[in-house]
Symmetry: C2
Subunit: 193 residues, 2 copies
């Protein structure tokens, strides 16, 4: 894929950060709180790799408002004139109440339902486990789905079209922050080398 094709593919790719249903350390279903730097860092990464959009998905209304307030500050408030590059980072950052709502939103933008690729730090059995270069062989629109907490609930993994191989370094430890994982995954797929 040449540079122009890569840019085109990226513009029809979306990243979702799911706050429910995700797991806690004991494997129970929880709703995590939105973290301020998850809004910032993943917006900046999404913009750097030219994605179509970044959705923060949370069912909690107060948390949705928090995200809107942060985006508003940088897009229209004091932050917009103070730091125009940060303003631009939030151009395609959005909020949704559920995975279905975010998928519907992408579908209405793109004209058809996206292919959904789950991500996980752990090895799971999945009917379609894919490696990073294979993402570019899928049909757009594509959604890359990341979970907060201790990862996506199995009910979510099961309904995804594919599961991406975990990010691994040369040692056994792999407990990256979701901000790091999101950045690395985007770079592995869309990074210029």
């Amino acid at each position: 894929m040449n540079h122009e094709e890569l840019r085109e593919f990226a513009s029809h790719t979306y990243i979702f950060l799911l706050h429910h249903p995700v797991l806690n350390r004991e494997g129970k279903v929880i709703t995590t709180a939105v973290t301020n730097l998850d809004i910032h860092d993943i917006s900046r990464a999404s913009r750097t790799y030219g994605l179509g959009g970044y959705y923060l998905v949370t069912p909690i209304h107060l948390q949705q408002e928090l995200v809107h307030r942060v985006i508003g500050h940088w897009q229209e408030g004091y932050g917009a004139s103070h730091n125009p590059r940060r303003k631009e980072a939030f151009d395609t950052t959005r909020v949704a109440g559920s995975l279905d709502e975010a998928l519907q939103d992408v579908s209405s933008i793109e004209g058809r339902m996206p292919v959904v690729v789950a991500t996980s730090a752990r090895e799971h059995g999945h009917a379609r486990l894919i490696d990073y270069p294979q993402v570019l062989e899928l049909s757009t629109p594509v959604v890359l789905l990341l979970g907060t907490g201790w990862g996506l609930h199995e009910s979510v993994l099961d309904r995804c079209d594919a599961l991406l191989k975990p990010v691994r370094g040369p040692v056994d430890y792999n407990h990256l922050s979701v901000r790091s994982a999101a950045s690395i995954i985007l770079d592995r797929i869309f990074g210029l080398r």
Copy 2:
């Protein structure tokens, strides 16, 4: 390089996060404040890619104490029993008052002065501009040097042995957080594919 050689190389590689001398938006030399998630996220990435150590470099004593307090909480305090994997992430996180102090520390661990590789989001002229795979052709110990704020001061860039190519996606915007940049750089060099 095979898996075992990669692991060995990584264990003699260090990442430094410099808070002084770095630039502000106007290109003036400043000292930035240590950010809590810079401690966490880069420690976790450094541990995931098997590095020899992660140094937070700041001349401000109160900020050095803050880092020690955060590490102490997770290594010895309540956090250690609450989340043993986070404890492990901080095993090789250290604090230094200056770039020279951090380099001396690595030198005393490794028995010789490291090769210092600067990183930057911008294109700079440098006598030795290198690409990611070339890092593995250097002699260990190796230090990867990242700046906070608007990047490393030129006096620092000038004394580095090499400068790493900027991380780029398929579009012109590239304003990643330093946490994202650190994670991507480590993955480009030490990630298993």
